[in-house]
């Protein structure tokens, strides 16, 4: 059971963090960072399976591969960006966290440009 593993790791790590935080807050922060990384690494395998399923469905429905890959990339971007923003916010750097979120939004917009252009061209081709 993977969920038991994740919950066990988290509880254990939070107990250790509570102990260490009074003396060495920087190492406590690293411990929470490592715990978050481990959970994400465990969960990523399942995410890969889900994406494979979606890819199969998209291939069966004959969706253009470019659009599907862009969507998957955007999901990955949001994933990493959220992780980085949460970690920096945990370390007390709210300004940096908002910058990371801004960067993620800009990158998503940037990656969506081809989709937007093809949408606009489709709409224009409908117009008389």
């Amino acid at each position: 059971m993977i969920i038991l593993k994740i919950v066990g790791i988290s509880i254990l790590a939070s107990i250790f963090i509570l102990i260490i935080k009074q003396q060495k807050p920087e190492i406590a922060f690293m411990l929470s960072l490592v715990t978050g990384l481990m959970i994400l690494l465990i969960i990523l395998r399942q995410v890969g399976e889900i994406i494979n399923l979606l890819r199969n469905l998209a291939a069966r429905a004959e969706v253009d591969g470019v659009y599907f890959n862009t969507i998957i990339k955007i999901i990955g971007l949001a994933y990493i960006g959220e992780f980085g923003a949460e970690i920096t916010r945990d370390a007390g750097e709210n300004a940096l966290a908002s910058k990371i979120e801004l960067a993620v939004k800009i990158m998503i917009m940037y990656m969506a440009i081809p989709i937007m252009i093809s949408l606009i061209e489709t709409i224009i081709s409908f117009l008389p």
């Binding site: 490592v34 998957i72 990493i80």
Partner: protein, 64 residues
């Protein structure tokens, strides 16, 4: 990808905080400071490897 990593870092943290207390009692403030720095660097090595692993996995799964 093991729980050993958490034990390792927690052990380093507890060990360093205890040694730190001892050094502070012995009026060796600068050595306590250096010890903290060394501990942070050792933990940072572990963290960097894990971050690298995560980024490689994300790149593989989401096909960047």
């Amino acid at each position: 990808m093991d729980i050993d990593l958490i034990f390792k870092i927690a052990g380093i943290g507890i060990f360093i905080s205890i040694i730190n207390m001892v050094l502070k009692q012995a009026n060796k403030e600068e050595q306590a400071q250096l010890l903290t720095l060394v501990g942070v660097i050792i933990v940072l090595m572990v963290v960097i490897q894990l971050i690298n692993e995560l980024f490689a996995d994300v790149r593989r799964v989401f096909q960047f």
